[in-house]
Symmetry: C2
Subunit: 249 residues, 2 copies
Amino acid sequence: MIITVINQKGGTGKTTTSVNLGCALAQTKKKVLLIDLDPQGNLSYWLGVTAPELTMADVMMQEAKIADILQEREGLSVAPSDMSLADVEINIASIEQRESVLKKALEEVEADYDYIVIDCPPSLSLLTVNALTATERVIVPLQMEVLSLQGLDQIVSSVARIKEVLNDKLEILGLLPVMVDGRRNLSREIYDYIEENYDLNLFESKIRSNVRVSEAPSFGESVLSYSPNSNGAEDYRQFAKEILKLTKN
Amino acid sequence: MIITVINQKGGTGKTTTSVNLGCALAQTKKKVLLIDLDPQGNLSYWLGVTAPELTMADVMMQEAKIADILQEREGLSVAPSDMSLADVEINIASIEQRESVLKKALEEVEADYDYIVIDCPPSLSLLTVNALTATERVIVPLQMEVLSLQGLDQIVSSVARIKEVLNDKLEILGLLPVMVDGRRNLSREIYDYIEENYDLNLFESKIRSNVRVSEAPSFGESVLSYSPNSNGAEDYRQFAKEILKLTKN
Ligand SMILES: Nc1ncnc2c1ncn2[C@@H]1O[C@H](COP(=O)(O)OP(=O)(O)OP(=O)(O)O)[C@@H](O)[C@H]1O
Ligand SMILES: Nc1ncnc2c1ncn2[C@@H]1O[C@H](COP(=O)(O)OP(=O)(O)OP(=O)(O)O)[C@@H](O)[C@H]1O
Ligand SMILES: [Mg+2]
Ligand SMILES: [Mg+2]
């Protein structure tokens, strides 16, 4: 099962969700692969992959296989990225089937994993399009704030367009409320607004705002390893359970 | 004085700072122009510019002047953007002097304003390069969190490269700590780390995490209009004072 985490709005917990969901699934004994598809390499940096020799840039330039670039962390495999991935969008723009490069690369490793989680950059450009072309399911983490809400229409239409043209099995698994602060009335209104105006699944799980979640990267660990009894760890374990149930795996 | 707000890390308060600093400066009777250079158009949407006929995309394609696209909001001028700006990076990639398109466009209006504030997308690609080529000063809002810190080296080297090749008067005015939460010990460590390891100015002003700041966009106002007595409004007024002093204007 390939799951892609997208949101073109910045700082909506894509990387935080990719790492913590991935690690929570790995803790239930699933074989998990995390793919860092962001030239900023936050996911790679977080999990201690600092100067990788081969990265997703080499895979996307079709000069390496995913199997060649893997590093093992916290019981799962990481396919890292670094800044060289930024040039890839320009370099592959003229390749025929430039949207299917990642799909082809994933076909060789798909059978080795129960879950492949792809972390995307804050954009809907060619790297993200590759992820959406390759993936079966999509998770959209979003803050219950109006600037985050603004981009939702564009996500829905981008997914619809790719489903029609490049990947007919593409589905949005759901929207994940993140950095939820129980004291904010406005978030409740935005949550209700989404429920009433979008025909999209809102996950039952919510990830509460929790300082342990933001501290975990500086210790090079998921929040589940760093602070297993925190609200953050609890919420991501809960979310992993919901994902397991929804993907019957 | 042209000031550009950058940070390729997502959700670090670029748009929030562009709007609230701009409005705080306008409240001191300065003539202010806000430029939305993000295809996601958060700034434009926030200030109630929802379906502009002409946008920064037309300016960047050299089919309109900035003066043609301006809309007045909260005592300042807004040069809006929308999704069509996303294609611009591809469309102008082959123009000679593609990094100076914005600079030329700004030359025509520069004299009409005390401050021009440019809000950039979460990337260091051609749109942001245009802003850095045109601007005199740069503000980098950043969260005191490790995933935000990771990108700082890249910002420093990108600015250095553009200063050398395209814009010799380019300077980073300073780093602005945003969404500061006094209770977090880790933020103190990250703040100290930046002070000790970077030869960059850290503004004395800090923008505290404040729910009024995140609520303001849903009312279509800056935090200064929406909640003038809040910590958010206070912090941005303070920051505007510091900017006035540093830019002696
Ligand atoms: N539940 C949470 N509680 C507290 N802090 C959080 C939570 N989730 C994420 N954060 C923090 O918010 C910031 C943004 O999160 P993250 O980097 O995962 O977002 P992103 O969508 O991947 O950003 P980008 O658009 O830059 O890729 C990070 O500093 C992260 O540690
Ligand atoms: N001081 C603050 N207190 C509380 N919330 C804040 C504060 N500053 C920003 N926010 C909220 O954090 C979120 C991210 O802020 P903003 O959109 O300004 O960041 P950005 O850097 O422009 O994001 P992007 O990378 O997507 O352009 C928004 O929902 C905003 O309302
Ligand atoms: Mg990320
Ligand atoms: Mg923004």
